[in-house]
């Protein structure tokens, strides 16, 4: 079947413009989904391991009872192929030349850190270096402030208990130095083997033994399953997913990546649909002839089905060939942003959605018009038959809409996203209906003439069906691209707004009640007022409605807050960034009740009216839940799970005060003076943590930009598909106009005007629909307030008008460069 085979060869197909558009759109769809899926899973791994470095491991086991854990626990981890490390944390006095200071010691084993890295400085003028180990035995690294506080230099000795250790470096950043408010006083880091010889740790000393574990998820999970039954109440197992801030950033980044991917797929699907309809139209003569020559409609169906299958395979292979280098590039970018190697790992499970996309686009968008080729009458060889009215394509459109929203739902996993897009599109189609009616009603009265704008208007009217479908496709393209730009902008603004330049970057902890006013006054005088000061009482949630909480809440729920002491507080008023979701805030003078953070309440299944019992030291306090409130965890301000009213259940409990404030980097040296003046106040420097969060925002931004490029490519393909739909008609008209004596300049001006009008209409509609979709998205997905985006939105119709009119000019090239006769003959 040489001739018949040749009829369906892809190589020959490639010469046809419409087929090229279908294949390009398929390749883009597959490439986009594959790249995004690969990158999303890579980003997830990277961010998790970034977040892991906050623990200096994948998991931590803390023993707060001052005793090491049984040795077999560590042996078991090693046998399961996990990496392990060990830390001992305690506070003690250290002595310098002629000063002493309470410090917080972290003694680490050789393996520390299993994840992340430390930043140190060999001397106060030296450069910062990143290392993946702690100090050697006999040496210590210290917080730079200790140089002044103890009046020592690098190379001097530091007396820790009965040992003299050499100061060999300044500790600028430790991976796990961020979040724990129990960290007291400036840090000194030493080797764990030196601890015993200092003699500092005695029976009953307040010491925390921390064990670090790293390895693959399955091994870690297996180990935890083994370990869990043996854990006592003072043991706390911690994983990265407990860090609210990071899992939130991660979820948003993922949602956004998937949204971008879905939009690219929508665009590519539109391109596939338009181009394959065009292709089907161009095949009608061939089909009629094949029927005349004796090929039955089932034979025709098979012929084109095979061709579709070939396109599908080509699209999949092509898409993957594009995706892999693109993904490689993105991992390079990520690695650069993070300043550390990122593994280039092709996760085969990430490729399934890409292949599914190719199949769905092909069968929901390309197949229906091609399937209808079977119905082309053979009689067409003798006489042209009435074309399709568009009505028979209605069921196809329904199938296509269902398919595409199914795809979006599958990727984004967010029904609200699907509904927002569907709503935006419905609005767009409604507006188009009105516009179409207006076009027909007003333009009918315009008569052609020698003026370019009249010719343009007549042109719009004459091609009103094509004009409207072009406006529809361009408007849809613009809507999707604009939605993405808007969401990206507002997402980034959102993040930056969360971490303004003057976001608090230092915590003051352990402020004695009688020192509160003095501390606040100290910073007030220096122009750095403190944020709200909160009392802090350490206590454990032990009973829920009279039942021990560990019995009521199943272990599977693994609520971290139950495993450790909570910071309890009382507040006179609701902090500005908290909001009540159920119940009501304490009234003036109210003395009972407790307000619970919403997510914890959800995990514990708490409702208003539940009785909670807290154990604080040897006392028990029981209060009723009177409100549930949300908390802005990433605000870098003190946040509390449990808030009591002033003079409520916490009155007379031993409290210290906590606050946060912003201190510019160049004023950090002032902290020394503060520490000298208030030696008992602990200072927590979290500017490093903030830097890390901003780093993650930067990574995500770069990923988003890469995706915008893909979307743009998809939009260009859609444009090519749409323009190709009317190319021949327009060229023939242009040639006729020239034959009949029209001047070139008239032709150029009227065509450019016609396309500019098309572009402007499409731009206005697309932008309006995008605003509607973003409004819905913002509402549901990103929990932000909606505002108009004039600065982004206004230029889009203008740009679209200019670009389209240039496109129209470009399309005219063959009409202008060739003699009309030659052109008419060529187009016959």
């Amino acid at each position: 079947m040489a001739a018949a085979k040749k009829l369906m060869s892809v190589r020959r197909d490639w010469r046809e413009r419409d087929v090229r558009v279908v294949l390009a759109a398929l390749i883009i769809a597959v490439a986009t989904v594959a790249t995004i899926a690969l990158f999303a899973s890579q980003l997830q791994r990277t961010l998790v391991s970034s977040a892991s470095s906050f623990l200096a491991a994948d998991r931590q086991l803390e023993a707060e009872n001052g005793r090491p854990v049984p040795e077999p626990w560590v042996t078991e981890a090693l046998e399961r192929g996990l990496e392990t490390g060990r830390m001992v944390e305690f506070s003690t006095m250290v002595f310098g030349t002629d000063a002493f200071q309470l410090v917080s010691i972290k003694a680490v084993s050789n393996e520390y850190p299993l994840r992340g890295e430390l930043e140190i400085q060999g001397d106060s003028e030296g450069s910062r270096v990143q290392v993946q180990n702690g100090p050697a035995p006999g040496e210590v690294w210290i917080n730079p402030r200790l140089l002044r506080l103890l009046d020592i230099q690098i190379g001097d000795t530091l007396e820790v208990g009965s040992r003299n250790l050499t100061v060999s470096g300044l500790l600028l950043r430790e991976p796990d130095g961020g979040f724990s408010l129990s960290a007291l006083a400036p840090r000194v880091m030493m080797h764990v083997d030196d601890v015993a010889s200092t003699g500092v740790i005695q029976e009953g000393s307040r010491v925390e033994y921390v064990y670090l574990f790293a390895g693959d998820d399955a091994a870690l999970e297996g180990y935890y399953q083994w370990l869990q039954p043996q854990l006592g109440p003072s043991h706390e197992w911690e994983g990265v997913r407990d860090g609210e801030t990071f899992s939130r950033s991660l979820d948003r980044a993922e949602s956004f990546l998937l949204l971008g991917g879905s939009l690219a797929v929508l665009l590519a699907a539109v391109a596939v649909a338009v181009a394959s309809r065009q292709y089907a139209l161009s095949q009608r003569d061939t089909v009629a002839l094949l029927k005349t020559l004796g090929l039955g409609s089932s034979g025709i169906g098979q012929l084109y089905l095979k061709r579709l299958a070939l396109w599908g395979v080509t699209g999949m292979i092509g898409g993957l060939l594009v995706a892999v280098p693109l993904f490689w590039l993105l991992t390079r970018l990520l690695s650069e942003a993070l300043d550390r190697p990122v593994e280039f790992l092709l996760d085969s499970s990430a490729l399934t959605p890409a292949l599914l996309t190719a199949l769905v686009s092909l069968f929901a968008f390309a197949y229906p018009p091609i399937r209808r080729l079977r119905n082309v009458p053979a009689m067409r060889v003798l006489r042209s038959q009435p074309g399709e009215t568009g009505r028979e394509a209605l069921p196809d459109m329904l199938i296509a809409i269902v398919a595409v929203f199914g795809l979006v739902w599958l990727y984004a996993g967010e029904l609200s996203l699907v509904i927002a897009l569907l709503g935006g599109l419905a609005l767009l189609l409604g507006a188009l209906g009105v516009l179409g009616w207006l076009l027909v009603a007003t333009l009918r009265k315009v008569r052609g003439g020698g003026h370019a704008w009249r010719l343009a208007l007549v042109g719009l009217y004459r091609h009103r069906r094509a004009s409207l479908s072009q406006i529809a496709v361009f408007a849809m393209t613009l809507m999707l691209a604009t939605t993405l730009i808007l969401v990206r902008t507002s997402l980034l603004d959102d993040w930056q707004a969360q971490l303004p330049d003057d976001a608090p970057n230092h915590f003051l902890i352990n402020i004695a009640p009688d020192a509160v006013d003095e501390v606040a006054g100290y910073w007030e005088e220096r122009g750095q007022p403190l944020d709200q000061l909160y009392p802090m009482v350490r206590g454990r949630l032990t009973e829920l409605n009279g039942q021990p909480v560990k019995e009521v809440v199943s272990k599977d729920q693994r609520v971290g807050a139950l495993n450790r002491e909570l910071n309890l507080t009382w507040m006179p008023s609701l902090p500005a960034d908290n909001s009540i979701v159920e119940g009501s805030w304490f009234e003036e003078g109210q003395k009972d009740g407790v307000s619970v953070e919403a997510e914890l309440a959800g995990k514990l299944g708490l409702v208003l009216g539940d009785e909670l019992t807290f154990t604080i030291g040897s006392d028990k306090v029981t209060e009723t839940v009177t409100s549930i409130r949300t908390v802005q965890w990433d605000s870098m301000k003190p946040n509390f799970y449990m808030a009591f009213p002033p003079e409520g259940g916490l009155t007379n409990m031993p409290a210290t005060w906590i606050t946060s404030f912003h201190l510019p980097r160049d004023r950090k040296s002032e902290l020394n003076e503060f520490s000298r003046r208030f030696p008992t106040v602990s200072l927590l420097e979290i500017d490093n943590v903030i830097e890390r969060i901003q780093e993650i925002v930067r990574q995500v931004t770069q990923a988003i930009e890469a995706i915008l490029v893909l979307i743009l490519a998809a939009a260009l393909v859609v444009m090519a598909a749409v323009v190709s739909a009317t190319l021949q008609d327009r060229q023939r008209e242009g040639a006729l106009l020239r034959t009949l004596g029209g001047r070139q300049s008239l032709l150029v001006r009227s065509t450019m005007l016609e396309f500019a009008l098309l572009g402007a209409f499409a731009g206005i509609l697309g932008v309006a629909a995008a605003e509607a979709a973003v409004w819905a998205l913002q509402f549901r997905m990103f929990e932000g307030a909606f505002s108009w985006h004039w600065q982004v939105v206004l230029p889009i119709p203008i740009i679209s008008a200019v670009v389209l009119s240039l496109f129209g000019r470009w399309q005219l090239r063959p009409v202008l460069s060739v003699s009309p006769m030659l052109l008419l003959r060529r187009l016959e």
Binding site: M1, K291, L293, L295, G299
Partner: protein
């Protein structure tokens, strides 16, 4: 294909009371009104008439490209209106050849491949050998690998004629075969068509408004406003 009965005594084509209407937006247009005719095996027949008289519609119905609103067409023993579309396609593949005014060659295929196509579709053996022979017979032995774009109008119609005879059809339908060609080329093409028709003993049904070409057929049917006027015997006219 049980309805096909290649009984040589029966006429090749029998048409009874053929009526064809198309519905337009407002009313119905009757294109053919009660046409009846018989064409014998090996006969050559011209259908002549002015533009819009319904002759092309009649040709389409005779060849089974379309089905009539009323009446019967019996082609080589098969009642066309009783066949499914696929059965009609089968019938065309094995028994019918076509030549069109606008040639209708597939632009992507070479001359040779265009001629091979119906042979492949009919499942015949050695399609390439047969296609070569035919192209040589129509004088295009040197142009086998040229695509239609690289051929002149007359050459394209020769390819189309070779394709029409490729599957050894019992009946050949030609729609204005010289309509797109200049006089001299048209003359050459009609010579070739007639000669091949003679050689192969094919029944020929040709629609034309070229009086000269029509005169070369054994019989002529005149069609006017969808109705057949009496068949005219060309030979009688010539006498």
């Amino acid at each position: 294909m049980q309805t096909i009965n290649p009984d040589s005594q029966r006429p090749m084509l029998r048409v009874e009371n053929l009526t064809h209407r198309v519905s337009l937006e407002t009313d119905t247009l009757t294109i053919l009104k009660g046409v009846s005719l018989e064409i014998n095996r090996g006969e050559s027949v011209a259908i002549v008439g002015r533009s819009g008289s319904g002759k092309t519609t009649l040709l389409g119905l005779l060849a089974g490209l379309d089905t009539p609103t009323e009446g019967n067409v019996e082609l080589d023993g098969a009642v066309i209106s009783q066949l499914s579309e696929d059965e009609r396609a089968q019938l065309r593949a094995h028994r019918v050849g076509f030549v069109f005014q606008s040639f209708q060659l597939l632009p992507a295929l070479t001359a040779l491949e265009n001629v091979m196509l119906p042979l492949e579709l009919a499942g015949m053996e050695a399609p390439e050998k047969r296609a070569r022979e035919l192209l040589e017979r129509v004088g295009l032995g040197e142009r086998l690998v040229h695509t239609p774009r690289q051929l002149s109008g007359g050459e394209q119609q020769r390819v189309a004629i070779a394709r029409a005879f490729a599957s050894d059809p019992a009946i050949l339908f030609a729609d204005e075969p010289t309509g797109n060609l200049d006089n001299r080329t048209g003359q050459e093409i009609s010579d070739l068509l007639m000669a091949l028709n003679q050689e192969q003993g094919t029944t020929l049904v040709m629609v034309t408004h070229d009086e000269q070409l029509a005169a070369r057929c054994a019989r002529q049917f005149h069609i006017e406003a969808g109705e057949l006027t009496e068949p005219v015997n060309e030979r009688e006219l010539a006498d």
